[in-house]
Symmetry: C2
Subunit: 302 residues, 2 copies
């Protein structure tokens, strides 16, 4: 299953890259006037050639669990990846985390400039909703609108953007374990919850299945954040493709800082066990999702 | 009609303010975790108590022309206003236009800080799509998705964000009249086009009516930009509620700079005549839209 997971993830990356390349083509599409070359280049820098594409993988595999494959789930995954990439561009800005390196390459504001990076993030976020709302994502408008509503809730003030605000405010302060869990449920958890729920939505799954996938995604998000924070203390920049040891330097509240690496690694294992256990009702059909979840504990962050 | 226009605009402002206040309440709504107070305060600073609310007025009045009133068009207007306000927050940032004053108050990054301003803009943009996708905007999912698609096209790389990119790149350069028109059709025109088309969409108007409203909105956008640029050269900061004479200072390409104030004022009149003439098929039913269009030539910008 591990080999099959690797092979399917690699396949997803290729299909996603082709779709993102098409979505970020120079030609203006319906309702657009022209696409300025510099802004497009910055968006492409942010969205192409990078990342493990784990979030879109969960969208596509969750949809497959509920019997739907093809363009629709892939587009829902691409929209989510646009949101993820926009958040990295804005988080890297000098006024935020001030990072120069991302996935081993200069961050967008370093490769271009700050104004272009702000606009590229804005335009990627906007593109995500354009992709979801397009009829080629699903013939049923209510499903398209449902995807939009879910992604907006996951990425706005009550989700990822709010989590980044709490994260910035928490620098240099002591947070309780509960506060850290809220922060992380918002900052990184919300997009994983959306990933798994979006797969269920685009596949027209039942409310019960949606809820279960949402909770599964929440556990993935916690696990992902633990893995990412562990990477920050154990890896060097060349392994991680970004600056490391920066959490401690900035006084960032993480569970790794609170628990220490050993206990944090244990918590990661427990969290993933819980996530995989939630898939029991689906039996062997969910083996791929379980393998993908397990990969997070094996350095699958990023 | 002018008095009735003023009275209806004033009424719209009150209803819109109440709705935005509700949308920006402290309580997390469906799918959200918590709403961090500082981020919410920055979003409220940006979106409440300001602006002529001309764009949402055109959404609501266009919908009314096609026989639909009530919560749906108002929500579509509120979503558009969220996008408009987010764009002001990001445009005012030090890396962009670097403005300290907006509507007579400190800009968001001055009242809070840069990171909070970036996130507040991001979260307002995201909220716009959450508002449109919610079933209370329209019972038909295809109409909700249509509103999302239209707003995303108007505000992304091929619309407003792309226009801001061209605007930044054009500082200190000579642009042709045609280039300036493209820039302005994107930077400010796109949201006016969306305003009038969104009213037609939410009212379930025919494709023909949608197209006509779209063209009407495009004319309004051109007129609005001319009026705004004229204000920049003729008003002082206390009248305009923001810094003036900044276009010339920054070497910004405007039609007023190219044509001079007299010819630009003539062009404004001609553009509004064209816009009003397009309403002829609707007869007296479109008098309110005509009056609203005329108001743009009477200092209705802002």
């Amino acid at each position: 299953m591990k080999d099959e997971f690797r092979s399917r993830l690699s396949d997803l990356r290729i299909r996603l890259e082709l779709l993102l390349d098409r979505l970020l083509a120079p030609t203006a599409t319906g309702g657009e006037i022209v696409r300025p070359a510099r802004l497009l280049a910055a968006m492409r820098h942010a969205a192409l050639d990078g990342g493990k594409r784990l979030r879109p993988f969960f969208v596509v595999e969750t949809a497959r669990l509920f019997g739907v494959e093809g363009e629709g789930p892939l587009r829902a995954g691409a929209a989510l990846e646009c949101v993820h990439c926009y958040s990295l561009v804005h988080d890297d800005l000098p006024a935020m985390d001030d990072d120069d390196l991302r996935r081993g390459r200069p961050t967008v504001h370093r490769a271009f400039d700050e104004a272009t990076a702000i606009l590229a993030g804005d335009a990627l976020l906007t593109l995500a909703f354009a992709v979801l709302a397009d009829p080629s994502t699903h013939p049923d408008g209510a499903i398209r609108a449902g995807l939009v509503a879910n992604l907006a809730a996951a990425s706005g003030i009550g989700g990822m953007a709010g989590g980044q605000m709490i994260d910035l405010l928490s620098e240099g302060r002591d947070l309780s374990t509960e506060d850290i869990r809220t922060l992380q449920a918002m900052k990184s958890g919300a997009l994983f919850r959306h990933a798994c729920e979006a797969g269920a939505i685009v596949a027209g799954a039942s409310a019960e299945d949606r809820g279960l996938m949402r909770d599964f995604g929440a556990r993935l998000g916690l696990a992902f954040q633990l893995a990412d924070d562990l990477l920050d203390v154990t890896a060097d920049a060349s392994q991680a493709g970004k600056r490391t040891a920066k959490d401690a330097e900035r006084g960032k509240a993480t569970q790794v800082a609170l628990l220490g690496p050993k206990k944090a690694a244990d918590l990661l294992t427990v969290t993933l066990d819980e996530a995989v256990a939630m898939l029991a009702p689906y039996g062997a059909r969910a083996d791929m999702l379980a393998a993908a979840a397990r990969s997070i504990g094996e350095g699958g962050g990023g």
